[in-house]
Every structure is written in C-alpha cells, then in structure tokens.
Subunit: 230 residues, 2 copies
DNA sequence: CTGGAAAAACAGTCTCGCTTGTTTCTTTTT
DNA sequence: AAAAAGAAACAAGCGAGACTGTTTTTCCAG
C-alpha cells in the first residue's frame, strides 16, 4: 500500500535535515525491504515457488533471518509484499519496452514493434515468475486474492498503453477488443505453453501471421473476413 | 515402463486359474499401484504440486504409508510413475473426446467440433494438472526429463488424431502445420492464461474467430490473406 | 545542544511440527 | 516354507516462527 519505491542513498551527514520529509531510518527500512523483495524474486526465478525458503531469501538478500522477520513477520506476508513488488516491476518493464519503440516507426511497422515488445515482455524472467505464481495461486486462496487484484490493474494499464500505441484504432470498439484478445491469448500461449521442437521458427511464423491478422481486422472494406458468425 | 494399465477385477475365486497368464498377486499389485497414482493425481488437482505429501496420497488412496512405500520406494519414484500415468490418461481423454464427435458431422461443422473437443480437453482437470507439472518442472530437472519425453510423444499422437479429423487438409503441408500451431497456441493461451473478466464471452468469440481463420487458411483462391510475409 | 530513554532495525538461537524414508512386524498369496 | 503385500513405529532432517539479545536511530527533557 505505502509504496516508497527505491530510495536514494544520501547517507553522508547524520544531522542534516535536508530530507526531513522522510526520516533516515524509514529510508533505510525501505531499502532493506526492497533488497529482501528483490532477493525473493531472484529466488523465485532460480528455484521456483515451491522451493522457496525464508532462509534462502535472507541469505540472498544479505540480511539475517531475524532482520527479515522483523520486516515481514511471516512467510505469507513476505510473499504478498513480493507479489505487489513484482507487479510494479512488470508494469514498469512493459512500459519501458513500449516507450523504447522509436517514434519514427508509424503505422504497421509501429504495431509490429509493439508485438515484439510484448513478446520480449512475455519471455522475460519476470513474467515467467509471475505466471508461476498464478499457477501456484490456484491452490492458494490468499495468494490468488492478491494476484487477482493486480491482474485487473495490470490489464487496465496494458489497455492504456495499447490505446497509445494503436491510437488509430481505439475508436473501433469491438474490433479493438478482439484484436487485443487475439494478441494476448496467442502470444501468451506461445510464451507459457510447452515448447516442443523448432520453437523459434514456429514463434516467428506465428508473429508474422498474427501481425497480418491484426491488420486484417482493421481493414474496413472486407468485413466478411472478420466475423462470419455475427 | 511396464505399463500394465487398469486391470479387470475378477477376484471371486482364488483357485481358478482362468487368468493364469497374470497371477492374482500381480493383478492386486497393479490395482494398488493404480489406486495410488489416481490418488496422487487427485491430490495434485486439489492441492497442487507443491503441497503434495506422501501421507496425503496414501490416505486418499486408502492404503497405509508403508504399503505405498512398498510400491513406490521414494517420493520421486511415485511422482515419476504418476506423471507417466497422467500422460496415458491425457492421451486417452483426448482420443475419447475426438472419437465422440458424431460421424454425421462433416466439413466445417466437424472441424468446429474438433476445436470444441480440444477446448474440453484443455479445460479438464487433467490438463490443468499437467500444465502445473510443466511449470514445476522448470526448476526440477528430473521432473522435466520425464515431461519432455511424454511431451514429444503426446504431440505426435495429437498430430495423428488431427490428421484423421482433418483428413481433407493433411496434404497441405505448411498450411496444415500453421493451422495446428495457431490452434494450439491460441487455445492453450486461453486455457492457461490469467482469466480476467468476462472469460466466457471472450473465449466464445475467440473460438468463432479461430474457426473462421482455419477455414480461411485452407481457402485456395485468395492466398494473399494467409501470408503477406513470404 | 545534549544526554539518555524509547523505539526501531538487526542478529542469532531454539523449539516444534511436518515430511520423508528406514526398519520391523503381521498378513496374504504362491 | 518362501515371497510378496501391507501396516505401523521410529529416526532424522528441515523449515517456520518464537524468543532473546544487540546495535542504531529518533526524540525530548533538561
């Protein structure tokens, strides 16, 4: 809830009340929390959800178990906090990838770059971890509750990003939603599905196919190709 | 390896050597093994991979822990055997769903029924469990080894089934593979992805869209709609 | 300003419960 | 009688969280 992100380390003077807004102690506390949550994510990535222990996280973070238990009284609270932290990281990651698309790209090329950005996001360790947590959440009510909250929030944010990326199409109503769903499901399927052979070629071909379909969805003239079922 | 599937329970007489091929004791042993592996799958479904304990499986199977350890000397061996068992169940499940499609359905209607069958398969508990195991396998080498083996085998089998279902199209080479990949990735994406709101409507719309695209892929006349990138 | 009490951050140890796998014993089948 | 199946008690390891002690920061009385 109180999201005091990463703090700047202005630790030199002890008495200078320049940053009197937030006390030094609170800054230090926030830094430790961040270190611990980052460590937890690394542990998730390395060993998976089921093999996570508080001792490993503490070691990875470079703090004692006692210190960690001070910040996160129970394992559950640690995981909860880490999920929220991960959620923020994911949002930032996606946003960064979208922002990185050069503005000179326009039209179809820009949209294609958007697809590639999304693919990069989906194949990143952060998303893999997120997906793993979702799977674990199926049999863990409290985890699921946390995830559901951030999921809705995230989908909204992605929709915002996409409205910006595909500004030409936002007023297309149903078609816009259809295009977003096709993209989401198809690419997530490739990202989380069981690889099988020749993964790279198949993905490349799918991306081309998908790009074509998106352009097709928004072609006005031939409406028949979009929905025979209406 | 030695796959003595489910055995028929002809337990009445003790001295009748009608089924002298396989001894009664071996039958009993196989039955107990099956009971235990089924119980393990139920435990996977109910509590997930990370919460599985040998004690729970034994209770669920209605045998003592000692008896279970007699058949499966370690937890690892239990899981290995269960994964193979699950793999067989999955194959059977998919085959049964495909076989259930009435032969009177032909052409597009038959293909659409094939999609629905696949969707049923993907949303069944068995597949959910399988996917969960795949996720867990990421950080568990020996589990991954088992899964990889059955994965390749499974994909081959599904391809066989599909050649039967879509016999009109098997000689289309690339397009057939493309169609299968689109189907696989899109539907798996819907099945394992994070639900989000209005799941049912979105899935229904996707299924219609997918069905149309498949028909489109195999339309000969207008080749331009299939691949602009060539 | 400043000494010191209060509070927060941090560290290490201990215990309890859970899970696994071994061992020993009884029952059933051959 | 021998071998296999099944049952139960036992030992060992591990992880979570409680507990106790130490250091650092804050804040206020003097």
């Amino acid at each position: 809830m109180d999201n005091r992100g990463s703090v700047s380390t202005s630790k030199s003077g002890s008495k200078e009340t320049a940053d009197s807004e937030i006390s030094w102690q609170a800054q230090k506390s926030a830094m430790t929390r961040d270190r611990i949550m980052s460590a937890a994510i690394r542990c998730f990535i390395e060993e998976g959800y089921s093999n996570l222990t508080t001792a490993k996280v503490a070691t990875e973070a470079g703090v004692s178990r006692g210190a960690m238990l001070h910040h996160f009284p129970s394992k559950t609270e640690l995981i909860s906090a880490t999920v929220e932290y991960l959620h923020d990281q994911l949002l930032e990651d996606y946003t960064r990838r979208v922002r990185k698309i050069p503005t000179r790209l326009q039209g179809a090329a820009r949209r294609r770059a958007g697809l590639d950005a999304y693919w990069g996001y989906l194949t990143d360790d952060l998303f893999i971890t997120y997906h793993e947590l979702c799977v674990a959440g199926r049999t863990n009510p409290e985890l699921q509750a946390i995830l559901e909250e951030s999921q809705a929030q995230f989908e909204t944010h992605v929709a915002e990003c996409n409205k910006e990326l595909f500004s030409e199409w936002v007023d297309r109503g149903d078609r816009f939603l259809l295009a977003m769903d096709v993209t989401k499901f198809l690419m997530e399927g490739m990202a989380v599905g069981q690889p099988g052979g020749k993964q790279k070629e198949r993905v490349a071909r799918m991306m081309d196919y998908l790009a074509d379909r998106l352009e097709e969805i928004f072609e006005d003239e031939n409406s028949s190709a979009i929905s025979r079922h209406s």
